[in-house]
């Protein structure tokens, strides 16, 4: 299906790989943290579990404040295709469901479930798959989704979407590159849990049926390379490949280019060139989910930088606030003039805004640099057009041009220069002699373009709704007019067809109404007269008590009113039998109303 499959297999077996353009060689600093094995942490007191930890839509909440939860219990459920559930990291009580500072550069609070641990750490009843080879693909994919697995390499793409593939697939690539300096979480995971990663790969092979599996490890991790080779040696179509160290070789598109020389098209996916890629930590989590039945509630996090007295890798539960990780790594305050904690590596990470920022599915590293280790960025200076940035761009873009257009807010131009193919690796900013934070400009421009597109969509929708409403109002008005016209015509028609009869009936009805009115008036006059006579009589009887007379007067008036009402109702009752027939009466009433 793709042209050069055999050649790729041949070159991979000879370990003659291709290369991607650009790239940089920053100092590795991996030995800082990769010397000791991954440590388990004690159960925290409080966990802050963000409801959304991946790209897509958040799941629907299943728990309420005050609920008791067990370790591994689902807190949300996946309703939309792109939503991934999250799970309780330990047993305890949900104390609050509120907005909590997010593990995002902005730190904007996002909906999180706050769980107070009860210290028991009791697992929910686990439901492992006895034999995945005999289980249907769709069930396995559903289990991967229910276990809350999303890509753990950095992007956080829902794994079940990627795994639900129907296009032709040649290469299943397992990404153990970990090209960013300082980070060693995947390195330690491969060294210590190669067998379980292999199980995860087996499950993926069962679901996806690729022709060839390539496990790619950067050559600065010889131990991991060895353990992975041992774990995969029984399988003929599994090939463990050592990839030359260069940043960002771990980028999805870059690694595909290194291994297969195929380029993923702009706006395309790796599957368009017959590849699918998973991170080693994702494979580990898949094995956990299928073989053990455990959902994704913890991940390996590297605690590194000279700000830590004992840098290391730890198994951190998702939702652990970074302040407790600082305690585990022995944070040395004297190394920093002002506190500065970076989530992620030095190239793509971001400075966190709060000590309570939680660990999420994509957080692989907490970097606490000493002051002289990773200096604060200086003020940017003018671009000198040295073009060092375009030399190192792994996506073969023109960073200078993108910078100009992004800065000048010429977003259309920036898009024309393929801004959206930028992987934000930071290589350009790393080499820039003018210290321009180039990626920052690109991110702003990207956000602006995305927001503008959304606005445009919204305004188009508003326009449609506005026009639909206008059309509806117009239609309603026309219908009303039409109804009136029809009614008037019907009236005219009925008048002209049996003209005399109807006219007589109207006249009779009018006469009846008039008679009723006159009778009423007469009765009223009579009552008034009576009241007056009464009053006069009273006045004669006691002319000296004026006050009394006054009160009597009001009484009399009210009496007269009551009597009038009584009389009126009597007249109405008396009048009806006098009419020709009840139907006539109704008809007459109708007609008077119409008139």
């Amino acid at each position: 299906m793709f042209a050069n499959y055999d050649k790729i297999i041949e070159r991979i077996s000879l370990n003659q790989l291709w290369d991607f353009p650009g790239g940089v060689h920053p100092p590795q600093q991996k030995t800082l943290s990769n010397q000791s094995s991954i440590e388990y942490l004690q159960v925290e007191k409080t966990y802050y579990v963000p409801v959304k930890q991946h790209i897509g839509i958040e799941g629907k909440l299943l728990v309420c404040e005050g609920d008791k939860v067990l370790k591994g219990q689902a807190l949300t459920t996946s309703e939309a295709p792109f939503s991934v559930p999250v799970h309780a990291p330990t047993s305890g009580a949900v104390t609050k469901i509120t907005n909590h500072v997010s593990a995002h550069p902005s730190g904007i609070p996002e909906l999180s479930v706050i769980i107070d641990a009860d210290g028991q750490d009791t697992w929910i009843e686990l439901d492992p798959v006895p034999d995945y080879a005999k289980t249907s693909k769709s069930e396995l994919i559903e289990r991967i989704c229910d276990a809350g697995i999303s890509g753990m390499g950095g992007a956080g793409f829902p794994t079940h979407i990627k795994t639900n593939n129907s296009k032709p697939l040649e290469f299943l690539i397992i990404n153990g590159i970990e090209c960013e300096p300082y980070i060693s979480s995947d390195d330690r995971l491969m060294r210590e849990h190669a067998w379980q990663i292999r199980q995860g790969i087996d499950i993926l092979v069962h679901i996806l049926q690729p022709k060839q599996v390539i496990v790619a490890v950067e050559d600065n991790k010889p131990e991991a390379l060895e353990t992975m080779s041992i774990a995969c040696q029984q399988k003929i179509n599994y090939q463990v490949v050592s990839v030359p160290t260069k940043y960002p070789a771990g980028g999805e598109k870059q690694l595909i280019q290194v291994l297969t020389s195929r380029e993923v098209p702009a706006n395309g996916l790796p599957i368009d060139v017959g590849c699918i890629m998973y991170n080693v930590a994702t494979c580990y989590a898949i094995a956990d989910a299928i073989v053990e039945g455990k959902p994704l509630i913890e991940r390996v996090v590297t605690l590194t930088g000279e700000g830590f007295k004992s840098p290391k890798n730890v198994w951190a539960r998702l939702g652990t606030p970074i302040q407790s990780l600082l305690t585990y790594g022995d944070y040395d305050q004297s190394q920093q003039s002002s506190p500065r904690f970076i989530m992620g590596g030095p190239m793509m990470g971001f400075t966190v805004t709060s000590m309570l920022t939680p660990i999420v599915k994509i957080s692989n590293c907490i970097l606490v640099p000493a002051d002289n280790e990773l200096p604060h960025p200086e003020d940017e200076r003018a671009c000198i057009r040295c073009s060092a940035c375009s030399d190192v761009c792994p996506a073969s873009l023109l960073p200078q041009q993108l910078f100009w257009y992004s800065k000048a807010k010429e977003l259309e131009k920036a898009e024309e220069y393929n801004l959206f193919d930028c992987i934000e690796c930071g290589a350009c900013a790393y080499v820039c002699p003018s210290e321009i934070p180039l990626v920052h400009y690109y991110r702003q421009a990207k956000a602006d373009i995305r927001n503008q597109k959304e606005e445009k969509e919204k305004s188009d929708k508003a326009k449609i709704r506005f026009e639909a409403r206008k059309a509806r109002l117009l239609k309603e008005k026309e219908q009303r007019e039409e109804k009136h016209r029809l009614a008037a015509e019907a009236r005219k028609a009925s008048l002209s067809t049996d003209g005399g009869g109807t006219k007589d009936k109207i006249a009779a009805a009018l006469a009846r109404a008039k008679a009723k009115k006159e009778a009423l008036a007469k009765q009223e006059a009579l009552a008034e007269k009576e009241a007056l006579a009464k009053q006069e009589a009273l006045a004669k009887q006691a002319p000296h008590i004026a006050d009394l007379a006054e009160s009597e007067k009001t009484k009399a008036v009210s009496v007269s009113e009551v009597s009038t009402e009584v009389v009126a109702s009597q007249t109405a009752q008396g009048a009806s039998p006098a009419k020709d027939s009840p139907e006539d009466d109704a008809a007459a009433n109708e007609e008077t109303k119409e008139l």
Binding site: S106, H440, Q444, A447, K463, F466
Partner: protein, 190 residues
């Protein structure tokens, strides 16, 4: 003499042919509506708020096509004025303050326990973004609300607020000076 007749006949014939051709083209390639109005309308933000003095965005688009000023649209702000000036070939002017000032994006919010169910706001809403019935509580469909403000005045009990739209992390514009947050370390010293 014959020469003149020939000349006249030839010119008359040509006139007939071209006339027929033009007439045919006028019918065959007839453009429905005014394309310029549609282009202008596409630039306007479609809030239908009427702050420009016209009953909706389309009427304002027609007015601009007929030579009205391009700086009467506060919801569109500077961006819209810039795009309009590029389209119309006129100079971009600052926003006319008489029609309002550019504001942050807002949506209407009904304080529901104060709503008496009078349906007046429903009738005022240009995009049918209010849900409710007579004597029943009303509520706003946030996703449809354009923030036009037109429902606020008709409300007899003043229970409608215009609430600024909160930025979430997926809409955040990476403006560190607006949100007090940390920087991204993208430079590493060797």
């Amino acid at each position: 003499m014959t020469l003149t007749v020939f000349a006249l006949a030839a010119i008359a014939l040509l006139a007939l042919i071209f006339g027929a051709l033009l007439g045919f083209a006028a019918i065959r390639f007839k453009v429905e509506g005014d394309p310029l109005v549609d282009q202008i309308d596409a630039i306007l933000p479609q809030t239908q708020c009427g702050q420009c003095g016209y009953p909706g965005c389309k009427p304002y688009a027609e007015a601009i096509a007929n030579g009205d000023d391009i700086n009467k649209c506060p919801p569109g702000g500077e961006t819209t004025i810039r795009e309009l000036s590029a389209l119309m070939g006129v100079e971009a002017k600052p926003l006319d303050a008489a029609h309002g000032v550019e504001d942050v994006k807002k949506v209407a919010f009904i304080r529901e326990d104060e709503c008496i169910g009078c349906t007046k706001c429903i009738q005022a809403c240009p995009v049918d973004a209010i849900l409710g019935a007579a004597k029943q509580m009303h509520t706003i469909l946030i996703d449809e609300c354009t923030g036009c403000d037109l429902c606020v005045d008709p409300c007899p009990v003043d229970c409608i607020d215009m609430v600024p739209v909160e930025v979430d992390s997926s809409h955040w514009e990476w403006k560190f000076n607006k949100v007090p947050v940390g920087d991204i370390p993208i430079r590493q010293m060797s």
